[in-house]
Symmetry: C2
Subunit: 343 residues, 2 copies
C-alpha cells in the first residue's frame, strides 16, 4: 500500500512527494472518452463498476499516488430534492433554482444510502482493488449554494451575493442545509472506505474577506468539526482564494489546497502548521516539456522538501492535456523528491 | 482646487479620505444613459466636448474627489493598427487577433495626436472646468495583450498563456509594443493635463507568480520607469491579483490598487511604503444601506486613518447601482475620515 499521501497529509516524512491531479479522471484520458461515448456522467456515477473503473484509470495510466472518487460536486443535490442536469460545454444546470425561504424549507434531508448507493458501492469496490489511498470529496457549501441560487456556474455569483446581503437569514439557512448534506455525504463516503476527504470551494474567489468571515467561515468551521471524529485527513481547497487564505486556513482542514495564483512558499507561511497541496498552473501542461519541467521544479523548490507537501495542479486537468505529459510529470515529482531526500 | 487625491497618492495628511469610483462615469448614471441613446462609446471618445461632459457627470452628481477620463482600455488600439468594436453585452471585440510574429511586426507606432486627438482635447477642456484632479489611464500590457490574442475578453486568457509558454519571444515582443504604446499614450495625456495616471491590469488574475515574474514584471517596471519623469502619481491596479501583490508592488506604482478580495490592512502590510486604493466590493452597492455602511466602514477601519488611502471600490461600479447610494457613500467616507481626524 502506497501511503505517501496519508503521510504527507499528516506532515510525516515521505520517500517521495505524493502527487495526484484534480480531474485526473476525465476527458484528458482516451479510455475515459471511450466510456463517455456510451454513458453520461450521471450514468457513470450511478453504476458502481463503471465509476470504479473511471476512478482507477488515472492510477493505472499515470502512476499517481491517490485516486479520487469520480463524481461531480453537484452529484448529491438530487438527494436533497434538487434536479441537476450536466450540460456539455456549460456544466451543471438547475432548472428550478433555490432562492427563497420557501425554496430552502422545501429541501429534503440527505439519505446517502438512498441517494448515493452506486457511488458508495464504487468506494467499496475500489478499496479492494486500489493500492493507493482513495480520496472522497464534496463541493463546499458556498460553491454549491452558488449553483443552487444562480442555476448554473456564474463568474461573479451575483445572485447569491445579493441574497447574502439582502436576505442573510435565507442565504444562511441554505448554507446550513448544505453543511448538513455534506457532512452526511462525506461521513457515508468515509464509512464506505475513502481515506481522505476534500472540500472544493471552487467559486469562493468571488467573495471578499468581510463576507467570507461573516457568512462562510462559521459554516466551514462547523463542517470540519463534524468531520473530525471520522479520523481521516481533510483537504480544504478554495479557488481564487489567495486573499482569503488566512480565513480559509482558520476555518479548517488538515491540508490547505492552493491554486496556481499564489507563491507556494509565501502561502505556506500564511497557512502555518498544516500541510499544503498544489500548485502548478494546469495551462502549463499544454506547452512544451521544458516549460512544464521548469514550472514543476519551481513549485517543488518553493515547497523546499518540507514534510507536508502534496504535489498537485492549482486547478483541474484541462481536457486538452496529453496524458503522457502527466505521466512524465509524476515521474519528475517522485524523482525530484528522492534526490532531495538523499541530499 | 480639491487636492485630497494628490495628497493621498503622496501619503500626505488629508482633511478627509479622498474617494472616487472606478467606472463612476457610465451606465449607472441616467444622464450618461441619455447620451448613449444618441452616441456610441466610440463617438463619445472622439468628441472632446461629449467626452468632457461624460467625464464630469459623476463629479457633479456624486461629489467625488477625482474625475477619470472617460474611455475604454481598448481606445488606443486602433492607433497601432488594431480595429476594435465595442459590442454591447460582450465588450471589446477584435476581428483580426494578433497571434504571430508577423502580426506583432505589423503593429504601427502610436501617434497620440493623430490617434487620440478628441481625448486629448477633452483633457484640456476638463482641466479648465474641473475643481478636482483628473485621472488618465491605460490598460496594462498583459490585459491589452489578452484582448489582442484572444480577440475578446476571456476568463482564463488561455490563448495568451499558450503563447507565453510556447512562443515567449512573440508574446514578449507584443508586450513590449504595448508598453511603448502605453508610455506614448499616457505621456500625451499628462502633457494635455491629467494629474494622475492609472494602469488597469484587469486580467492579470489569471497568471501565477512564475509567469508574472518572468513575462510581466520586467515590462511593468519599464513602463513605470518611463512614466516617472512625467512627475505625476501612478496607480497600479491588478484585478484578482491578491497572490501577486508582492510582485505587482515591486513592479511599480505610487499607489497600489486593491480589489475587494483582500483585507486592506493585510494587503497594505505587503505593499509597504506606498499608498493604496480600494477596496469595497461593488456588489455591496446593490444591497441595502445598512450593508453598504457596514462594509464601507470596515474598509475605512482597516485603513486605520493612515495617510495614503484612496477610497474606491474593488472593481468598477455595476450598471445597476443606484447613484444616490454612491452619493451617500461619498458623504460617509468624507465624514468618517473627518471624525477620525478630530479623534
Amino acid at each position: 500500500m502506497n501511503d505517501r499521501l496519508l503521510r504527507a497529509c499528516r506532515r510525516q516524512p515521505v520517500d517521495a512527494t505524493p502527487v495526484w491531479f484534480m480531474r485526473q479522471a476525465g476527458r484528458s484520458l482516451p479510455e475515459y472518452r471511450a466510456i463517455r461515448e456510451r454513458a453520461t456522467l450521471a450514468d457513470i456515477v450511478r453504476d458502481a463498476a463503471l465509476c470504479a473503473e473511471v476512478t482507477s484509470q488515472p492510477v493505472r495510466r499515470l502512476g499517481v499516488d491517490a485516486a479520487i472518487l469520480f463524481a461531480d460536486i453537484t452529484t448529491p443535490l438530487p438527494g436533497i430534492g434538487v434536479d441537476v442536469e450536466i450540460v456539455d460545454g456549460t456544466g451543471p444546470v438547475i432548472a428550478r433554482p433555490v432562492r427563497t425561504a420557501a425554496d430552502v424549507a422545501a429541501l429534503r434531508g440527505f439519505d446517502p444510502e438512498a441517494s448515493a448507493a452506486g457511488l458508495l458501492e464504487a468506494v467499496r469496490l475500489l478499496r479492494r482493488e486500489l493500492d493507493v489511498p482513495l480520496i472522497g470529496f464534496a463541493g463546499a457549501p458556498f460553491t454549491l449554494a452558488s449553483y443552487l441560487v444562480e442555476g448554473r456556474g456564474s463568474r461573479d455569483a451575483g445572485a447569491l451575493k445579493r441574497l447574502l446581503h439582502a436576505e442573510p437569514e435565507v442565504a444562511g439557512s441554505l448554507l446550513d442545509a448544505l453543511v448538513d448534506m455534506s457532512v452526511s455525504y462525506l461521513r457515508a463516503q468515509v464509512q464506505a472506505g475513502v481515506q481522505v476527504v476534500q472540500l472544493f470551494d471552487s467559486w469562493i474567489g468571488v467573495l471578499g474577506p468581510f463576507d467570507y468571515a461573516r457568512h462562510v467561515a462559521p459554516r466551514m468551521r462547523r463542517l470540519f468539526e463534524a468531520l473530525a471524529p471520522l479520523g481521516v485527513p481533510t483537504v480544504h481547497f478554495g479557488t481564487g482564494g489567495a486573499g482569503l487564505l488566512p480565513l480559509i486556513t482558520d476555518a479548517g482542514g488538515d491540508v490547505i489546497g492552493l491554486d496556481w495564483r499564489v507563491d507556494l512558499r509565501d502561502a505556506w507561511q500564511v497557512v502555518g502548521d498544516r500541510a499544503v497541496q498544489g500548485n502548478l498552473d494546469p495551462s502549463v501542461l499544454l506547452g512544451g516539456w521544458a516549460e512544464i519541467e521548469a514550472q514543476a521544479r519551481w513549485v517543488l523548490e518553493r515547497a523546499g522538501g518540507r514534510p507536508g507537501h502534496v504535489f498537485n495542479l492549482g486547478h483541474g486537468v484541462l481536457p486538452a492535456t496529453d496524458p503522457d505529459r502527466l505521466r512524465r510529470l509524476v515521474d519528475l515529482v517522485h524523482e525530484h523528491a528522492a534526490v532531495e531526500a538523499r541530499a
